[in-house]
């Protein structure tokens, strides 16, 4: 499936100027025009530190989330969604019950959308995806094994990957603990969610990324995430970004709780 294809616009169409402005403005914000010709991608290699480029998000719910057209929720998922009180997106309110406010694991794919870079490292039998948040290392097995039929639910799931051509690495995964949210806007998922990620390294500095979420227990149709671009960040290093509950709790008492008081509440002493 080609997600990137754009419909041709007739120049005589009344929407053409608007569409062009949006395309130009999104491009200008996503990246500066290249000053030198791009260098070819190495063969079957994703190694390096990568940062997600800002995208033209179409909804407030796209922020720190897979984004795109969110499919209808099942009754099970709707009941969960109604209990979730996110700090981001259309339902955002101060306070809330986002699990990460207690330093619970972000889970995957949410951590991918957190605004810090990640690093790929390739071993003989797996690719490691290393995130700054909580110093998470996700193992993507490349030794030909199959996904387990009845996996234990894990915060970061169980993942296998393969090269489908010299520049495209496809990851399939399942076995995700359903306490994590799909993004900061609070969309739920079930333990039987399956993901398909495609990392296509189109040149040395660029990965085009797509994600498909199949979770019939939670969504009535597959969820196709907003396509994203990762740029190589050779001068960036992944730091130890542990969320520590005692420290987060101190922050909550000193800043988050005063910020979440309703207007007109007694001022902080």
């Amino acid at each position: 499936m080609r997600i990137h294809s754009r419909r041709r616009l007739s120049l005589g169409s009344p929407v053409a100027p608007l569409a062009m402005i949006l395309l130009i403005s999104s491009g200008a914000i996503a990246q500066a025009p290249p000053k030198s010709p791009s260098v070819a991608a190495p063969r079957r290699d994703l190694s390096g530190v990568w940062g997600m480029q800002p995208a033209r998000e179409t909804s407030a719910d796209d922020k720190q989330s897979p984004g795109g057209a969110i499919p209808p929720l099942t009754a099970w998922a709707k009941a969960r969604y109604d209990l979730e009180k996110p700090g981001y997106g259309k339902r955002a309110a101060p306070g809330g019950n986002d699990p990460i406010l207690q330093c619970d694991p972000m889970g995957f794919p949410r951590i991918l959308y957190f605004p810090t870079p990640f690093e790929f490292a390739q071993l003989s039998n797996r690719v490691l995806q290393m995130f700054e948040r909580d110093n998470v290392v996700r193992q993507i097995w490349t030794d030909g094994r199959k996904l387990p039929d009845d996996p234990d639910p894990l915060w970061y799931g169980y993942s296998t990957g393969k090269w489908v051509d010299d520049t495209t690495f496809v990851v399939e995964s399942t076995g995700y603990d359903d306490r994590t949210w799909l993004g900061a806007a609070g969309f739920p998922h079930s333990e039987t969610m399956r993901l398909e990620e495609r990392y296509q390294r189109v040149d040395r500095d660029t990965i085009n990324f797509t994600l498909r979420i199949d979770d019939p227990e939670a969504y009535t149709k597959p969820w196709i995430a907003l396509p994203r671009v990762f740029k190589l960040r050779p001068r960036a290093e992944i730091r130890q970004g542990y969320c520590v509950f005692s420290e987060e709790n101190a922050f909550t008492k000193r800043i988050r709780e005063p910020g979440a008081l309703s207007s007109g509440a007694a001022p902080k002493k």
Partner: protein
């Protein structure tokens, strides 16, 4: 007949598209505002996932109020050129911030909100522009 189209509506569109990307979604703060506040640093907390700056600020009546200002993680700040010694108690600074919507003396500065920054009395500036992004490439 050809008619020149005013660039202003186009500019407005481009700017509003930019504002969408800049939106951070942190609902406690007014992220459309950029308010400069001058004060004296009382504490700089260099911690994950939220570093914090505490600042004594004199209000109009001369009363000192201690503000708590949330900012990014040490990882993000390091890539923007900060260190754990970037601020210390006693520093006189002007911080351009997004204040809390509820009027409490808490605020946000960080990479999600361009234009937020810390400026010292001598003009030195701490901001959130990632210095590790390769400027020679795309």
């Amino acid at each position: 007949m050809k008619k020149l189209v005013s660039p202003l509506p186009l500019l407005a569109l481009v700017l509003s598209a930019g504002a969408l990307f800049a939106h951070h979604g942190n609902s406690a703060y007014d992220e459309t505002a950029r308010v400069p506040i001058k004060g004296t640093v009382t504490e700089f907390v260099w911690k994950n996932p939220h570093s914090q700056i505490y600042l004594d600020v004199k209000d109009r009546s001369g009363k000192v109020v201690n503000w708590g200002i949330e900012t990014n993680s040490p990882g993000i700040l390091t890539r923007a050129g900060w260190t754990r010694r970037a601020l210390k108690a006693g520093d006189e600074v002007t911080i351009t911030l997004c204040p809390a919507k509820n009027g409490q003396p808490v605020a946000y500065i960080g990479s999600g909100d361009p234009g937020t920054k810390v400026v010292f009395a001598d003009g030195r500036e701490l901001n959130f522009v990632d210095k590790t992004v390769d400027k020679t490439g795309p």
